[in-house]
């Protein structure tokens, strides 16, 4: 068996091992490559930066643990920037598995680092079933959709909700999304109908599809995947959990590129052999 045949018949478990170590090594030995924020992340940051203290923001967290490594850093960095700006955060989810992740970020950032008070500075309304219907109902009355928060406490007399009951009282929607329902539906249902600006952080899988929304102004900012999260972290605080993982990410990409090139090299050599024979 020549080397080409051997490579062609390579057990895929060996490929699995290669990618495993390629991603693992930089976690132990960071390279410290520098991160430069792109225009989409810069616009995301600027949209939040333009808010005034006391403004109310709707934080739409629509994902689940399957996308945690990509999206949790975005949520945390967004909460950090919102806390720095002293705006009120009203969070809700259309994915049932999301509210505990929002709680986790609030406890860690808003309460832990900024001493914000639940019910006064921020609230987690939790999950509500209904997808696009909920998006529209929030334009009628937030209290109608969410009589109580994620822990079952009535939201009516919380100071954070004073003067806020629909999109008319909200300055910006910050969406973190892993798919349906998510960024696409917020743009379709809410952006122009209630004329409210939206910034979105989404998984890398769906990001390329949302570039047209950014160019058209339907999204005022866009973060795509871990790279987007890392760029945003650099803007908010100089570093963060996503930024630390970018070295591993870089090496993973290089190995995939190597696989594509090697696979095609063998294919090319084979087809030449074929035409000679």
């Amino acid at each position: 068996m020549d080397w080409k045949t051997r490579l062609e018949r390579l057990d895929r478990r060996i490929i699995f091992l290669v990618i495993f170590f390629a991603v693992l090594m930089p976690l132990f030995f960071p390279l410290g490559l520098s991160i430069t924020p792109g225009p989409e992340a810069t616009a995301f940051h600027a949209a939040i930066e333009a808010l005034q203290p006391g403004d109310a923001v709707y934080l739409a967290a629509d994902y689940d643990p399957g996308s945690l490594p990509e999206l949790q850093p975005m949520l945390e960095a967004a909460i950090e920037q919102l806390c720095k700006k002293d705006v009120r955060i009203i969070a809700g989810s259309l994915w049932p598995a999301c509210p505990p992740l929002v709680n986790r970020a609030f406890t860690q950032i808003a309460e832990g680092r900024f001493q914000k008070v639940y019910g006064t500075d921020y609230v987690n309304l939790g999950f509500k079933e209904g997808r696009e219907v909920v998006m529209n109902q929030l334009g009628q009355s937030i209290r109608g959709v969410y009589p109580v928060d994620s822990a079952g406490a009535p939201i009516g007399d919380m100071p954070v909700m004073s003067g806020v009951d629909s999109y008319a009282d909200i300055k910006l929607i910050v969406n973190v999304s892993a798919g349906y329902p998510g960024t696409k539906e917020w743009v379709q249902q809410v952006r122009s109908r209630y004329s409210i600006p939206i910034v979105a952080g989404c998984t890398a899988v769906s990001a390329p599809e949302y570039f047209p929304y950014f160019q058209s102004g339907q999204l005022s900012g866009l973060l795509g995947g871990l790279a987007g999260a890392a760029e945003y972290e650099v803007l908010v605080s100089g570093s963060g959990p996503a930024a630390k993982k970018m070295d591993a990410q870089s090496l993973g990409h290089i190995v995939i590129i190597g696989f594509i090139l090697l696979g095609n090299l063998i294919y090319f050599l084979r087809s030449r052999e074929g035409s000679v024979a």
Binding site: L33, E129, P208, F211, D247, S250
Partner: protein, 229 residues
């Protein structure tokens, strides 16, 4: 009756949503709002129905001793355990010495979510990293001009999107003392121009398709969706 009422409900609920968009008057607006409130409850009931269906399938599996029926036991156990922990009154749970009840932070329900649901779902998705590596090596063949374009773009985006792309470009530009486009810039251009153009055309085409389908449903032309002829 069997066909007319569901069809009427489809048309009524559907048209309510569309009319509500064009007619701002409070009479229409309140009606639409009511219809939306009901839909939220129906959507929740539909999820419960789906879960009931899963439970039924696995009970059948066990009663018929189907292949792999043993695995239905942990599934049903986990299902009923989560429901029980989640919906019994909160003070029952706290009276057993747990810090919280229901679905709240610190409850047993939340503990299972954090230590079983989160790692398992996360790992399921992480498996895809291995599959994509294997597919890149074994099933990514540049056989046509189209595939070549795809491959070149993919490589440029993969390298330009991560910090290493910038490092390579800076090193290279330093080497030849020129200020060529860097890999991140090339990547940005690809995303902003050719990718955007194609994705926009796809959005427009898909929107036309979706609008046509929705129109046919709410006008009662397409009835296969509600199970009628």
């Amino acid at each position: 009756m069997r066909r007319e009422i569901p069809l009427f409900l489809t048309i009524f609920f559907g048209c309510m949503m569309v009319i509500g968009f064009f007619v701002p008057h409070p009479i229409v607006n309140e009606a639409r709002s009511r219809v939306e409130e009901w839909t939220i409850i129906l959507a929740a009931a539909a999820v419960v129905l789906g879960v009931a269906n899963v439970a039924r399938i696995h009970m059948h599996k066990i009663s018929r001793r189907d292949r792999d029926f043993q695995y239905s036991f942990p599934l049903l156990f986990a299902l009923f355990l989560m429901i029980l922990l989640g919906i019994v009154p909160k003070d029952w749970i706290t009276s057993m010495g747990f810090p919280a009840g229901g679905t709240d932070e610190g409850s047993p329900f939340d503990w299972l979510y954090n230590n079983a649901y989160v790692p398992m779902q996360g790992t399921m998705f992480a498996l895809l990293a291995f599959y994509i590596a294997s597919a890149a090596f074994r099933a990514f063949r540049i056989r046509t001009v189209e595939a070549a374009l795809l491959a070149i773009t993919a490589v440029l985006v993969m390298i330009g999107r991560v910090p290493v792309g910038g490092s390579i470009s800076n090193w290279f530009n330093g080497l030849i003392h020129l200020d060529l486009w860097t890999l991140p810039e090339i990547q940005q251009w690809i995303m902003d121009i050719p990718n955007l153009a194609a994705k926009r055309a796809i959005l427009i085409g898909a929107a036309l398709g979706a609008i046509a389908t929705s129109l046919k449903i709410i006008l009662g032309i397409e009835r296969s969706a509600i199970g009628g002829d």
